[in-house]
């Protein structure tokens, strides 16, 4: 089936089988391997991408459903060669740890901050409750998301330029 999707700002015309999962379309067809596959059962959240700006678990969406829509993956966070504030904050606050859950955590964090620019600890933890960190290092992830808020921007901007 022929579809057109915009991924990280670039438009692609693709011929995909309807049963191809969005996560596989992103990884295997578009070769964007920053989006990970973890549980493959809608639980862990490492495959999270933004579909028209909204976080979705790409193991539980078919690629064809994205026809005509916009997808942002972790690769789309970098802007003009600089880290996005959320990436800079994860680096600064050691929010990556093993790095496996990071793409999902950062995209959910980005979506949260757009809705709520200064989230409390509880609000961040609530927002990332669909994302599992097997290092169980949630403290630094929460710190990083809060540090990436517009209120804490000077830190993020410095890091981003570095």
């Amino acid at each position: 089936m022929n579809i057109t999707v915009t991924v990280n700002g670039a438009t692609h015309s693709l011929d995909v089988e309807p049963r191809m999962l969005l996560v596989d379309m992103i990884r295997r067809v578009l070769r964007l391997n920053g989006t990970h596959i973890g549980c493959d059962t809608t639980s862990c959240g490492v495959c999270t991408v933004l579909l028209d700006g909204t976080p979705v678990k790409s193991c539980t969406v078919f690629g064809v459903q994205a026809d005509g829509r916009e997808i942002t993956t972790v690769e789309g966070l970098v802007h003009n060669g600089s880290l996005h504030p959320i990436q800079a904050a994860f680096k600064e606050h050691h929010g990556l740890q093993c790095g496996f859950c990071t793409p999902g955590m950062m995209l959910v964090g980005k979506a949260l901050l757009e809705e709520n620019p200064a989230p409390t600890d509880d609000e961040v933890r609530w927002a990332i409750s669909g994302n599992l960190c097997r290092c169980t290092g949630y403290m630094n992830i929460v710190k990083a998301i809060q540090a990436a808020s517009p209120a804490a921007q000077p830190v993020g901007a410095t890091e981003g330029a570095a």
């Binding site: 049963r19 059962t41 959910v108 409750s129």
Partner: protein, 306 residues
């Protein structure tokens, strides 16, 4: 994990969807949020030949207040309910349940109507709808005969019909929806200023099925007595269980801890939980009793708040 091969269509109008259903409804599954259907397809428990994606249909994501009901369109996502000021003001059982559905990312896609149509026996929304005596609006363009337990078959010739939730839900993963029909809307009675409701849920982790869930709804009359009561249980029977005996006991009574305890006792005895990784049957029954009492108390607190 990959589903079996299927045809995928994404119509842009309701007429097109109903036309496909009229032609080959038996082979079709409707894809709304897909957060229960796609996992089942990946496990090959569900193997539809055709998937009809209704996400391109305009005007199905409405939440409206009309004629004493909230009308929830087929493409309203769980998170739309979480964020809806109208729902928080008009139906306290729904408002309490919404943040407990799955996890925040799944709530972005999963739909309320889809959840009810899917009728996973451990789904939360069906209990909410049973406690609130909701109705399901279904549409079709084909003639068909409907059979309900204890009733003659009724023939409809397309259009819409409104089905009480109790006749809609038949058994686990089974509803009275005809293969040529689609769910268009849920109509959920609103709470008045003298009404309240709650949803209590115990889960091992965010996104897990309920160990136990209890939906409650109360309406008081002008004298302060219970005019209407709803109690429905999740994950403690083969399907969501409306505890009509406990509801009947409450109606006409002045609300209070003693009568709530009695209703909770009936609910505890009415359910039939199984022992599993989430807890023993005895434990779950005990939680049903406690949650029913707490849920009724919370509903009363809302109903009597000025």
């Amino acid at each position: 994990m990959y589903p079996r091969v299927f045809d995928y269509v994404a119509p842009k109008s309701r007429e097109e969807v109903l036309g496909i259903l009229a032609q080959r409804g038996n082979e079709v599954k409707i894809l709304a949020g897909g957060q229960s259907l796609i996992p089942m397809m990946k496990l090959r428990f569900a193997n539809p030949e055709t998937l009809v994606d209704i996400n391109r249909l305009p005007g199905l994501d409405y939440i409206e207040h009309a004629d004493g009901h909230l009308r929830i369109g087929a493409l309203v996502r769980h998170n739309d309910i979480v964020r809806s000021a109208l729902v928080s003001a008009q139906n306290h059982t729904m408002a309490a349940a919404a943040p407990w559905i799955a996890d925040p990312i799944v709530r972005n896609l999963g739909t309320v109507c889809g959840s009810v149509a899917h009728h996973d026996p451990e789904g939360d929304w069906a209990s909410v709808m049973l406690a609130c005596n909701a109705e399901v609006v279904v549409a079709s363009s084909a003639s068909q005969t409907h059979f309900h337990p204890g009733a003659e078959g009724t023939v409809t010739t397309g259009g819409e019909r409104v089905v009480p939730i109790q006749s809609f839900l038949v058994d686990m993963f089974t509803t009275s929806l005809h293969p040529t029909e689609m769910v268009i809307e849920l109509r959920v009675p609103t709470h008045t200023a003298r009404g309240g409701g709650d949803y209590q849920k115990l889960e091992r982790k965010v996104g897990d099925y309920a160990t136990v869930g209890v939906a409650t709804s109360l309406e008081l009359d002008e004298a302060g007595k219970i005019a209407n009561a709803g109690i429905a249980l999740t994950s403690v029977s083969s399907s969501n269980l409306k505890v009509t005996e406990a509801e009947a006991l409450l109606v006409g009574e002045p609300p209070g801890t003693d009568v709530f305890a009695e209703a909770a006792h009936i609910a505890m005895n009415a359910c039939d939980p199984t022992s599993d990784v989430r807890g023993s049957a005895d434990y779950k029954r005990a939680v049903v009793r406690v949650f029913t009492e707490r849920g009724l108390a919370k509903a009363l607190a809302i109903a009597t708040a000025s």
